[in-house]
């Protein structure tokens, strides 16, 4: 194999892995959009909040430490214990479910039947609120997240490819784990949506509120469930991204990368989110590899958005989105 092709293959594989991480974030968007027609701007911040909470619980941080210290003049920061990763993940999930309940109870319950744009604005509010409360609870410094996921170069792949091509591929173990986790997550979500009564109820609510009520589906229950699911996906995305690049504010910005993924895959399709993520991941890596050097690099910053723009022009419903048919 010529060198260029070998390099391109490595770039391709790495692109796939990066795409999986984009897809993980996009999944959260699709879930909420499908079930409630709300575009949840706060999905990225939810991932950040989940990661912050996870780190905080694992390290035994006292929530709202700064606030408590300022008000009472104390100096508490840590409880002085460490919580095992698995227990901390379960606890974080409980926090996310609580958050889902609160968001529904405080915000969305009162906005039933409102315009989508209003609901969207509400999610922007939630995003800023969560960002602030996350800072206040756990502090704003960059944190390291280590739940024991393998990291670093995968030696086996390195060896095999070295023996085959005389050049060892660099594939991060974390990316492989992320891929497996994403695959399991998507499979579970699809089975859930298609084959369980709650999944069917979720699709029903997404389709028609009135009809759902008339067959005995509680809208509130479904909404709390969907926001909890989105919280769970945010937690998974938070763990993956947090492990990769540290838990910090910029984590919430990955939500922006999910937008082009959604435009490609369609806002209503779970498989679409995955395929869209992969296309963006591979596309931007390959583009950077092939065209980047000619234009001075840094194409990864804009490639995804331009690709999304092209899609908006030629196929506005995305690759897998429901076709927009209007009866006249």
């Amino acid at each position: 194999m010529p060198d260029q092709l070998i390099f391109a293959t490595e770039v391709f594989l790495n692109g796939l892995m990066a795409g999986v991480l984009y897809a993980l974030v996009a999944l959260g968007f699709v879930l909420i959009y499908k079930a409630s027609g709300i575009f949840n701007y706060a999905q990225g911040v939810m991932a950040l909040f989940a990661a912050l909470t996870l780190v905080g619980i694992m390290k035994g941080q006292v929530p709202f430490a700064h606030l408590i210290n300022a008000v009472f003049g104390t100096h508490v920061h840590y409880f002085g214990w460490n919580v095992p990763a698995l227990v901390a993940i379960v606890l974080t999930m409980l926090v996310m479910v609580g958050l889902a309940w609160a968001v529904n109870e405080i915000v969305f319950k009162h906005l039933v039947n409102q315009e989508p744009i209003l609901l969207f604005m509400a999610t922007i509010g939630i995003a800023y609120f969560l960002e602030g409360i996350g800072d206040m609870m756990w502090g704003s410094e960059i944190k390291k997240l280590d739940v024991g996921l393998p990291q670093g170069i995968n030696l086996w792949i390195d060896n095999v490819t070295y023996n085959a091509f005389g050049y060892g591929f660099f594939i991060d173990n974390l990316d492989i784990v992320a891929t497996v986790v994403a695959a399991v997550l998507v499979f579970t979500l699809i089975v859930f949506a298609q084959y369980t009564k709650q999944g069917r109820a979720m699709r029903a609510v997404a389709d028609d509120h009135q009809a759902a009520l008339s067959v005995g589906i509680s809208l509130n229950f479904i909404w709390v469930m969907v926001w909890s699911l989105a919280g769970f996906v945010a937690l998974v995305a938070g763990i993956m991204w947090g492990t990769k690049s540290g838990v910090q504010f910029s984590l919430s910005l990955i939500a922006l990368k999910a937008l082009p993924v959604l435009m490609l895959g369609g806002f209503t399709s779970i498989p679409g989110a995955i395929v869209g993520g992969l296309i963006i991941g591979v596309g931007e890596k390959l583009f950077e590899f092939a065209i980047g050097p000619m234009v001075g690099g840094a194409t990864e910053n804009w490639f995804a958005y331009v690709l999304a723009l092209v899609f908006l022009v030629f196929r506005p419903q995305g690759l897998f989105g429901e076709k927009i048919i209007e009866r006249v």
Partner: protein, 272 residues
Amino acid sequence: MANGVRAQAAAGGGIVGDVVLEMENIILRFGGVTAIKDISFDIRRGEIRAIIGPNGAGKSSMLNVISGFYHPQEGQIWYKGRERPAMKPYEVALQGIARTFQNIALFEGMTVLDNIMTGRIRQMKSGLLAQALWKGKAEREETENRESVERIIDFLEIQHIRKTPVGRLPYGLKKRVELARALAAEPSILLLDEPMAGMNVEEKEDMSRFVLDVNDEFGTTIVLIEHDMGVVMDLSDRVVVMDYGRKIGDGTPDEVRRNQDVIDAYLGVSHD
């Protein structure tokens, strides 16, 4: 009441039993407008009860009160002998009151089969965890529900569109799918809001036949709102007539037809 018994003989429906739902002095206001003014009537097990009246008489409002979409400011609702507190629509549905809508409310993106399966929510007992962990039980439940749904599909003659997304169906078939979904719940009371609105003669005849068959075969109690007087008189055991939110007549089709108030308000001229 003797009315019901006589009516049963007239319409030849199923066996009419005791009162299953009683509306007592219902008053419903929207701001300054009173949509329902102190109306009482009852519904007996196994009968076909029609609510008729000119446009804006408050028929749909009454149906929405029964199904929990509206809550009356005054009055009591007695269901199966017990007073019903103010309930959310989904709770009413779970209690066994199913309904269809005037403007069809189906899940357009889902297939006919899936739509009708949502009607079975009342019968699905196993929770999420049980479905994940105890596959056998959940599967058995799903199979049972599928079987009963298939029976309804056969009954309403919609086998050929089982896997079609509802959004692609013509109007008449959508109405039938909506009826199927309501039936799937095995309701104690089935509320039909203008089941024949916007249909052609042939479709109307089909739908009338289905309504009668449902009542005959499953003994389902049916409350229906309908504009077409011919249809109402043929189908129903007893009729409530509303006008401007008031009840102006209540009885068998024959009695209602002879009631002078009804003739004045609704029929204009006697059809005899």
